[in-house]
Symmetry: C2
Amino acid sequence: MIVVKIGGGVGTGFDNLLRDMAGRKDVILVHGGSDFLNKLSDDMGVPPRFVTSPSGHTSRVTDEATLDLIRMAYAGSVNKGLVERLRKEGVNALGLSGIDGGLLRGKRKGSIRIVENGRVRILHGDHTGTVEEVNTSLLDLLLKGGYVPVITIPIEATDGGGLNADADRVAAAIASAVKADDLLLLTNKPGLLKDVKDDNSLIRSVAEHDIDQAMDIAEGRMKKKVLAAREALEGGVKRVVISNANAQRPIESALNGEGTVIC
Amino acid sequence: MIVVKIGGGVGTGFDNLLRDMAGRKDVILVHGGSDFLNKLSDDMGVPPRFVTSPSGHTSRVTDEATLDLIRMAYAGSVNKGLVERLRKEGVNALGLSGIDGGLLRGKRKGSIRIVENGRVRILHGDHTGTVEEVNTSLLDLLLKGGYVPVITIPIEATDGGGLNADADRVAAAIASAVKADDLLLLTNKPGLLKDVKDDNSLIRSVAEHDIDQAMDIAEGRMKKKVLAAREALEGGVKRVVISNANAQRPIESALNGEGTVIC
């Protein structure tokens, strides 16, 4: 079993990737959608607001209006658009959010610590969380039925309702729960770069015990990927590969170790 | 087995209905979302466009942009919002669009005949269709797994991609395919009214052979409900009830024959 995480790139992106899904069994696809969400937020006149945690992670403030935009962007447009395109490639795709059938559940953070103007303060009422339980019996049911699950946020709060969650870490939680051999984090970079501006500075391999160092090197969204990789390895996943979604055959390449292999 | 169709009413509507779902087994829920879609279209600066067929049915023009708004409104916001709320009531709800797992498939109409300024003309490139195949094995799999399917559009075109379809007729197709005893079409009216402005003019019963007459009486959206009722009865459903979604216990009431019973 492999878990493949892709971004939520709109339009005609991912043609290679979707084609590379054709004929594969035992794949669970997890996708993001932040670019689409940002565009939708702007179109709707609700510009996204980002905050930084004391440990340097950037995350989106998720009030009730933003949560509804997440339902629309991730579970609506991107999920169903991907499922449509996968099905055209002959993949028996079936889209689910973490809400559906209680697939992905986690505690509501409630309040988060953010850094604003150099000072730490508490932000309340944020609809975010991290996955603590995966309904693996639902995944088994679907996989045995011949369906390829295509999974996205929101996840379900243990006290009810939807929550925003980081899609890379969602993929790590799923990969851990289903005891996947490989978690492939496909992105628009060749992998973890020593210098984010230089695609030739690819770090080909990171040992599990060097992951803290990799965390220091990673910038922006890549930080979440390295964090997700650590969580997946801690969860029992054998290998995580951060790799290029735009390769000719992105899944094949990642499985062959193209990109940054973390194990 | 019963199939319950509800509108896509936003916000806190349907509290009674969702509470009445609690504890029920063997229910498939189908929902609309046109009010939310209209609002979203306006917010996005893409006002909806409606056309009238020569037989007097009103329908939405569905270009590619509108189809994406349908993914967002129906499969995103309304579907996931309903699933969240049902799960809070203890219902093990799982949301699906007709795309997912090829649940609902139908031929793309391609072109439709419309009446404009009193003249009939052909409109091309419309992403609409009607359900011709229901993946009942997927519904069986989920029902046997203990999940309550919450179903909406888009449906899948037999030549690939998503299509808009009328949700009442979608519900009729599902009810026929699963050989439901009852199809309950819940709405904001007490049922089919002789005079649409007089809630006391309820028609309590329509025999199958009098359905043409009922079609003549029905106005606006109610026309689609009567058409859906006819299709369901032709498909082998025993009884269709058009009933009030705002009753204290809407499902119970409809099953007790409150509203317009068609059989």
